[in-house]
């Protein structure tokens, strides 16, 4: 199970990584914004010709490319659209939630999260 964590905050990334490690996931890649995440996806796909990740967990508010834009790009891609996507954010703005839901995410985590929440959401997303 390869997981891509996207967040501009190192602390959040490492918190998520720690939790995922506790849940038994060890193959974790990090990206600091949507753009880097997208580049990682494309690079991985070019090299292996396979789905580069089995799950994306992304923040919403990030410089360069937001989580919503990343989600839109992923969902618009022929191959990547199959990757489960979990939004992990403090954003609770109505319009953004609706847009996110319309594009389709497997789970929506409101920060702050803890191990139990992540576990629950991973189950919800069909990962666990």
């Amino acid at each position: 199970m390869k997981i891509l964590i996207v967040d501009d905050k190192a602390s959040i990334r490492s918190a998520m990584k720690k939790i995922l490690a506790g849940l038994g996931f060890s193959d974790i890649t990090q990206a600091v914004d949507g753009q880097q995440a997208w580049d990682t996806l494309e690079d991985g796909f070019k090299k292996t010709d396979q789905l580069p990740f089995d799950l994306i967990i992304s923040d919403m508010e990030m410089p360069k490319m937001s989580g919503l834009e990343l989600l839109r790009a992923v969902r618009g891609h022929d191959v990547f659209k199959a990757i489960p996507f979990i939004m992990a954010t403090t954003v609770t703005a109505r319009e953004i939630i609706i847009q996110t839901m319309c594009l389709g995410v497997q789970a929506y985590i409101i920060k702050p999260f803890n191990s139990a929440v992540v576990e629950l959401k991973l189950k919800q997303a069909g990962i666990l």
């Binding site: 959040i12 849940l23 403090t90 609770t92 609706i98 789970a107 191990s115 929440v117 997303a125 069909g126």
Partner: protein, 924 residues
């Protein structure tokens, strides 16, 4: 340690979250200020950046369970969200509200880990008022606007009368008939199943929403398993209708999206109770707590913060770290300080070892090599650690943008703040100690410097004043220049104030230059006057500023043009920890003098001391290059007993003479009687002070007499013990390579202990100068001239003191390039000019065996003037006669030994050469 469920705790990470919160806060302030500056033109990037900072703070605060901070940042975020969505136009009052919120957040951030309660109602109210104002604005223009997102306090008011009891009213005894298959599907995919009661009035009508739109909203976030809408419409039900929804969204989010209060929603399946508990704990509790909590917390969920055993979980991916591009690492300051101290000790040990090796191990090349590499590595380590402590000045100076803004606003002045050289780095300690003086200076700039907008306009200046801070490195120092374009300092006003306060004697008043008058504000005691704030001068506490800067071993200079502004120049050493110092000895003690304070070291020739040292205005002074420099004897200052060994006696006697000149007879040594041999002459005694170290003190210079000068060493400054810290003369202590513990002298301290008054010396000197001028007028000045020529009967001369050296040159060695003559000297190409290029003269004969190059002083590049022959050097006091035939470069003519000599004006010649050099360079 993991608990049964294998959950890990994030408790150990709290310091990381806190550090990031503080970083975000630091980056938020300049954003807010920039937003205000740009007003309505504010660009999206800026707002987005500020928004993200706030947003991250909110997130971080949530993780460390710091509720007040996450609440306040949430409100801040709401305001910025409105700005981002262009629903709110930035103005000062909005920025005020944001900044006051920011200040409180900063306060809260400082409270992290201590007392987590902090009252922020005022700030919150101000921010909410901003949102409220916006809403009323919109209402006035006729468009009714829905309540701002995520403002439960407003919703609460609407709901309370309707639903005082809670969820039971809606869902008690209520049953929904659901399609079993669809329900199972939803449950299989781990979706939450909610029952929602939608009120026609408050949820639809008040929000100008119809039922279909609500249904669409629900469909966009999940599936509708059941709806009683049709029934309700048919039965003319007035209250509302039920929906059963499956979605992945948590309760608070669902409430947010549907704009329905959480009390009107419930999870329908029992299997969710556990989830709810988890989510209530984990989710942003604010959203839930704003209203009534739907589900009672069955038990305080103490179980799911599981202890975390790092060893089990740490071997997580190393190959996947491609994106951990962390270029920086957070290190505790204490650790760096400790490392720094250790490095200092390492340097000391190295020095000791080196001096030991040098004295004992001489023929062991291996040991010498090892010593060399240890030497090098130690220096490297020391430098690297020094660099670790460097911080960009923006960390300090950036804060002043806010200070300037606040003070300016309070005083109804308009001030721009410009910062240049933000990335210049300084030792952290230095930066910390700069904060107070710089704050003071900037306050003064606004308080006393910048005029009111009205006044400025009247003066023909721009309405908005500018305060400019420029930082740059130069010669191991950091320069900080703080300038304003305000009123400047009125020297007369300062003078009269200083006179009123008895800081200056009446007879001194007339003799001061404007600059000296301005400098009076540095006098201690000047600050005690409160009235000075009422007039357009500055000077509140400037002596404190000066003391602070001196303590940093820095220099402060002030330059003010009345009506045009004031510039304060600070020169500060990059670090305080390691100081290159000159080691000197007086009596039996060694001392270190920081090199930064040293201008030069002078050796007084035993026989000539009486010529160079005199007494002026009660001070011993050294006459040096037309200047009178007060000199102090270190042993007197420190009260050291010194001993002299009288000739012919074995034991030493205590030195009682106070002044250097006392021990010198007026007669030079060669006229001494033979009764005393030179060797036994006590004037040659090593105890006699023969070295004067000239020390810089601001713009002034004074000399310090010492007995001996050793090497310059990089000394590690050790702070003085508490009980001797009050001694002004010492800045610290250090351990030398040979293990000696010595004191580091504090130059300003010594000057103040000796009560040096430079002004009185200068005045005394002025008087003396006038006397001498009169003397000189009576008798022509004695000049040393060097006479040279290209041809017989045409002699030129330069004053010997303006010539740096003479070189014989073989014309064959002269290289010609593009009509330019060069000669190689010390492996450098030196440009040569012929005399005839400047004055009418016979050309230098380059076919001769030898010519001479004369190198005048005061020329920037290496340039020589050719002459065929050097005749002689002579001393003359003859007056020069100048007539119309003389070239411009000729000072005048005189007759010496039957030669008519044209004396060249060295300054003009230098200028002419410079011009020619530049011209030739350009031509090339």
């Amino acid at each position: 340690m993991s608990d049964d469920s294998g959950h890990v705790s994030l408790d150990a990470m709290s310091s990381e979250f806190i550090a990031e919160i503080k970083d975000d806060l630091a980056s938020l302030e300049p954003d807010l200020l920039a937003m205000e500056e740009k007003g309505a033109d504010v660009d999206d990037d800026l707002i987005n950046h500020a928004f993200r900072s706030i947003h991250s703070i909110k997130g971080g605060a949530g993780f460390i369970d710091f509720k007040v901070l996450s609440d306040l940042s949430h409100v801040m975020e709401n305001v910025l969200m409105q700005v981002r969505e262009k629903k709110l136009v930035i103005n000062s009052s909005i920025v005020d509200a944001l900044l006051s919120g920011f200040d409180k957040m900063k306060l809260m951030a400082d409270l992290i880990g201590t007392d987590k309660t902090c009252d922020y109602e005022k700030e919150k109210a101000a921010l909410e008022q901003v949102l409220l104002d916006k809403d009323t604005d919109i209402k006035k223009t006729g468009t009714k606007k829905k309540a701002p997102v995520a403002e439960p306090s407003e919703e609460k008011i609407e709901y309370e009368p309707v639903n005082p009891v809670g969820e039971s009213l809606y869902f008690k005894g209520q049953t929904f008939l659901l399609d079993k298959k669809r329900l199972e599907n939803a449950l299989d995919s781990q979706k939450f199943i909610y029952a929602v009661f939608i009120r026609f009035k408050t949820d639809l009508d008040l929000r100008k929403k119809n039922a279909d739109a609500m249904i669409d909203d629900i469909k966009s976030i999940g599936d509708i398993l059941y709806s009683s809408l049709t029934d309700a419409q048919q039965t003319q039900e007035k209250d509302g209708f039920y929906c059963v929804i499956s979605t992945i969204l948590d309760l608070p989010l669902l409430s947010q999206v549907l704009e329905i209060h959480v009390s009107q929603m419930t999870l329908v399946d029992k299997q969710f109770t556990d989830c709810e508990t988890i989510l209530l704990k984990g989710a942003a509790s604010k959203l839930v707590s704003g209203g009534r909590q739907l589900l009672p917390r069955a038990k305080e969920p103490t179980t799911f913060i599981a202890p975390y055993e790092s060893s089990e979980n740490s071997p997580v991916q190393s190959a996947t770290g491609a994106f951990q591009t962390a270029q920086t690492l957070r290190i505790n300051v204490d650790l760096i300080s400790k490392l720094m101290n250790r490095a200092g000790e390492l340097v000391l040990s190295r020095n000791q070892l080196r001096s030991f090796m040098e004295s004992t191990v001489k023929d062991n090349t291996r040991a010498v090599h090892m010593m060399q590499s240890l030497d090098m590595v130690t220096t490297d380590i020391q430098e690297a650690i020094m660099r670790m402590r460097m911080q960009p000045v923006i960390d300090l100076l950036g804060k002043y943008k806010r200070v300037v803004r606040d003070i300016a606003r309070r005083m109804s002045k308009k001030v721009d703040f410009v910062l240049e050289g933000a990335d210049v780095e300084v030792d952290r300690n230095v930066l910390e100690k700069l904060a107070n003086p710089v704050t003071h200076l900037i306050r003064n700039c606004i308080d006393h410097g910048i005029e009111t907008p009205k006044e400025r306009l009247r003066m023909g200046k721009l309405e908005t004043g500018t305060i400019r801070i420029k930082a740059f490195h130069q010669g191991g120092h950091v320069h900080i220049i703080i300038s304003d374009d305000g009123a400047g300092i009125d020297p007369q006003l300062v003078l009269s104030k200083a006179f009123e306060n008895g800081l200056i004697a009446e007879d001194q008043i007339d003799k001061l230059t404007d600059k000296q008058k301005v400098d009076l504000i540095f006098l201690p005691g000047f600050s005690t006057s409160q009235e000075i704030t009422d007039i357009s001068g500055r000077g509140v506490g400037m002596d404190v500023v000066k003391t602070n800067i001196s303590r940093l071993r820095g220099v402060i200079e002030i330059d003010s043009v009345q009506g045009q502004g004031t510039t304060v120049h600070l020169i500060i050493p990059l670090t305080l920890a390691i100081v290159p110092s000159l080691i000197v000895r007086t009596g039996e003690s060694k001392f270190a003098i920081p090199q930064a304070n040293i201008k030069e070291a002078i050796y007084l020739e035993p026989g000539k001391i009486h010529e160079q040292v005199g007494n002026v205005a009660g001070y011993e002074v050294l006459r040096l290059r037309e200047q009178l420099i007060p000199i102090l004897r270190l042993r007197n200052i420190l009260g050291l007993k010194t001993y002299v060994q009288p000739p012919g006696k074995e034991e030493s006697l205590e030195e009682k003479r106070k002044a250097i000149a006392d021990r010198r007879q007026a007669s030079p040594p060669e006229q001494q009687t033979d009764q005393r041999s030179q060797k036994n002459d006590r004037r040659e005694n090593v105890w006699d002070p023969t070295y004067v170290i000239l020390l810089k003190l601001g713009a002034n210079v004074f000399g310090l007499c010492v007995d001996e000068i050793y090497d310059i060493e990089e000394v590690v400054v050790e702070p003085l013990n508490e009980c001797i810290r009050h001694l002004k003369c010492f800045a610290g202590a250090t351990i030398l390579g040979d293990g000696d513990v010595i004191m580091i002298l504090d130059v300003p301290g010594i000057a103040s202990v000796a009560d040096l008054k430079f002004d009185s010396i200068k005045q005394a000197r002025l008087k003396q100068d006038q006397k001498e001028l009169k003397k000189a007028e009576k008798k022509g000045e004695v000049k040393d001239l060097i006479i040279f020529c290209n041809a017989d009967k045409e002699y030129f001369a330069l004053e010997l003191k303006s010539v740096s050296r003479l070189e014989p040159i073989r014309p064959g060695d002269i290289h010609f390039t593009d009509k330019l003559k060069y000669v190689e000297y010390n492996r450098q190409a030196v440009l040569l000019f012929s005399l005839e290029e400047f004055v009418p003269a016979v050309p230098c004969d380059l076919s001769a065996d030898q010519v001479f190059a004369i190198f005048p002083k005061n020329i920037s590049s290496k340039v020589g003037v050719l002459a065929s022959r050097i005749i002689d050097t002579i001393q003359t006091d003859e007056d020069l006669s100048k007539d119309a035939a003389c070239s411009e470069l000729v000072l005048g003519k005189l007759f010496v030994k039957d030669m008519m000599v044209q004396v060249l004006d060295q300054k003009k010649l230098a200028k002419a050469i410079e011009q020619k050099t530049v011209a030739k360079k350009e031509r090339r």
